[in-house]
Every structure is written in C-alpha cells, then in structure tokens.
C-alpha cells in the first residue's frame, strides 16, 4: 500500500516537472533570458562573462570566477550555511559526558590515538583485512586527489566545494575502514570544529581586507597592493584561490563532522 502511494506521488511529481519543461526556452534560443541580457545591456550577460572573465580575473575557468568573484556574496553565505549545518548537527547530536563518567565508560584515549587497526572496534574477533588494507592505499591517494582538485580550481572544473567533498570522503573512508578512532586521531574534534570556523573566517577575512584598501567588500582587486604580483587581475586570481581554500576547509570539516556525529549518535565512539 505504501509502495502504491509512493509510486503515485512519484508519477505526479514527475508529471509536474515534465510539464514545466515546456516553459523552458528552446535549446540555443537567442532570445532566452541568459542569451539576450537581463539588465537591458546591449551585450547579453553570458556573452559578457565569457568575453571578460579572463581579462578581469586571469581565471580560465569561467564558472570558478563567477562563483567566487562575481557572485562572491552568494558563495560566502553558502559556506556559512554549511557551517551552520555542521554546528546544528553538533549541537543536537553530540553527547558530552562529564570527566568522571568518561573514565567509567572506558578507553577514550585509546580510541582516538589515530592507530589504524584492521580488527573490529567492538572486539568481536572479526577482521576487516581486505577493506582495511585497500583503504590504506586508497585514502592517501584520495587526499592527494582532493588537494589537486582544490589547487586546480582555476584551469579545470574544481574548487573548494568539490575538493572539500573529496577530502571529507577520504576521512569518512578512513573511519569506515580503520575505525572511527583512526580518522579522529588525524582530524581531532577540536581541530575540525576550528577548521570549519577558520574556513568561513578566511573567506570573510579576505573580503574584509579589501575594505581596508577603500574598496568594496570581497573586491579582491584591492589586494594587489598587498600581494605585489602582476596587477589587479592577478590579485583577483589569488584572492579567488584563497577563498577556495577557506571553502575547502569548511566543507571538509563539516562533511567529516556530519558523518562522525550521525554514525555514532553523537558519542564519537564505535560507529559503523
């Protein structure tokens, strides 16, 4: 019966969505809003961005420039939303015990030593030899890949959000394979909470820096006086890179915080 209702709901939703497809502009229509200029300019907005992004910011990837520079406010608050989600999960789920209770429940220090163990945390004698050994190889490679994505946000489709997700995934994989303790030993709870806040702080701080040079908030061009490298456009490029770093920090920490809190019901012990 439940399945029947679910099927009906899915069909109705799909029909509504398909109905909305008719209202879209035709593919490649020159009169559609993105192609004809929303603000009444003579050049359409997308053509404007495609032509001017590299001149303005020295960033070959238009999406990165639009995300972090033209729409900098939007991305700043998206990052803040992610931080808020992390804080909300922490506040609702995390179980904090007093010191004396902690001692009676047992081996907190051993659990967070960062030691990678292939035997199961609940001590039932089961071994995760295969998954554990595979993840010993995969996790460092995944972390390097995450750093690569963050660092190559300019020339290729990457950036803070994507790289942060891959980095966070690598820590989740570590927790799945070697026990939550082995991941918490590398990214301790106080560390990831600080990193999450530091990420937003870096983003907002770079924006504030440009205020000191009598420019608008998040106008990275103002940083050219500080960076001393090749004019205002390069300063924008480096500003975008700094912002991406901040986003990556927040996303990584919040991803891992969500997993750690949700999988252990806030105890940060045992887990999957």
């Amino acid at each position: 019966m439940q399945k029947l209702f679910a099927t009906i709901a899915v069909i109705i939703t799909g029909a509504i969505l398909l109905n909305a497809v008719e209202d879209f502009p035709r593919f490649g229509d020159p009169h559609s809003p993105p192609n004809s200029g929303v603000s009444g300019g003579s050049v359409s907005s997308s053509v404007h961005y495609l032509q001017n992004t590299y001149l303005d910011t020295r960033v070959p990837n238009v999406v990165t420039a639009v995300l972090a520079d033209y729409r900098g406010y939007d991305t700043l608050f998206e990052t803040a939303v992610i931080l808020t989600a992390g804080i909300a999960v922490f506040a609702i789920l995390r179980v904090v015990r007093r010191k004396d209770e902690e001692e009676s429940t047992g081996s907190e220090e051993k659990a967070c030593s960062g030691e990678f163990s292939t035997s199961d945390s609940d001590g039932e004698g089961r071994h995760r030899v295969v998954v554990g050994t595979a993840c010993r190889v995969v996790v460092p490679l995944a972390q390097l890949f995450g750093f690569y994505i963050i660092a190559h946000g300019h020339p290729s489709p990457g950036g803070g959000f994507q790289g942060g997700v891959v980095l966070g995934t690598s820590f989740i994989l570590l927790a799945l394979a070697g026990g939550l303790g082995s991941a918490l030993g590398r990214l301790r709870e106080d560390m990831y909470l600080r990193l999450a806040c530091l990420g937003v702080f870096i983003y907002a701080g770079i924006g504030l820096l440009s205020l000191f040079f009598r420019r608008n908030f998040l106008d990275y061009g103002a940083l050219s006086g500080l960076l001393q490298t090749g004019g205002e456009e390069m300063a924008r490029s480096h500003g975008i890179f700094g912002v991406e770093l901040g986003v990556a920090m927040t996303v990584t920490s919040v991803m891992f915080a969500l997993f750690a809190n949700l999988s252990t019901r806030g105890e940060l012990k045992g887990g999957l």
Binding site: V130, G132, V137, V139, P140, F147, Y148
Partner: protein, 166 residues
Amino acid sequence: MEKKPSSSLDYALVFGALMLLWVILSGKLDAFHLSLGLISCAAVTWMSGDLLIGAGSSLGLARRMVRLFRFLNYLLWLTWQIVLANIAVFKLAFAPRTAWQPHIVWHRTALTTDLEKFLLANSITLTPGTVTVRIFGDMLCIHAIDDVSAAGINGEMDRRIAHIFE
C-alpha cells in the same frame, strides 16, 4: 603485528610516489602548480603517510625494487587470470541451470601479513568463479560457482604471492 619505527627512507619514498602521482594528475609543470604540489604532497605525507608505509620495514632500496618488479610481474599474471575468469563467467551466464554448482570452499593459507592476505583475497575474488566471502585468521571462506573453479584454489596463488615478499 609488532610496530617497527618507520625510517625516513619510507617517508621519502611515499613523498616521491605522491609527487609522481601529482604530476600525472596535474599535467601543469609551471612553478606555481608544482609548488602547490609540493605543499599538498607534504601535507598528505604528514597526515596519512603512515598508512602507505604500513608496519614499517627496514628494507634497502634494491630489495624494494625487486619487490616492485615481482609485483608487476604478478599483476600481469593476475590480469590474464581475470580474462579467463570473465570468459568462464560469460559461458556460465548463458549455460543451462544444471551447469551451476555453487558451493562453499574453505582454504587455509600460510600467508601471515595483512598485505599478503589482502592480495590473496582480492586475487581470489578476481579469478575464475570464486569470491572471497570472509577471512578468519588464516582460513578463507570462498564461494565457488562450479567445480572447475573450486579446483583452482590449490595454493598456486599463495606461492606466487609469497614469492613477491620473500
């Protein structure tokens, strides 16, 4: 598994391997991206280099090269086995139902370290008609899909893997 201190050679090798991977991934050889790569590789080595090193071994460079060469040799053999496995599964998929003789086989291995057992378990999973279901200590519980493939679990793979690490 007893824990030996990892030598600085271990970390240097890990760093070198990561840097090689970075160059392959990045494909950009200018100073800016290479310095970013150096920073990233250092960060990964610091964060999780101990995972790649494992229990820490005090082997010299020459021994490691021999191991690497034997490992690649083993991979070639394994790839050929995988091709055979797929042909076997392909035939079985279209075979009549009576050809399927699924059953469970227990295999005792002499291999001791995690890495060796990992290699053995994954090789068994990838070769004809057998999947490693569980590992208890040195016993492997293997699901085999027919008699021919079950007969293939006869210790030859163990010998080849032991040869890599001897």
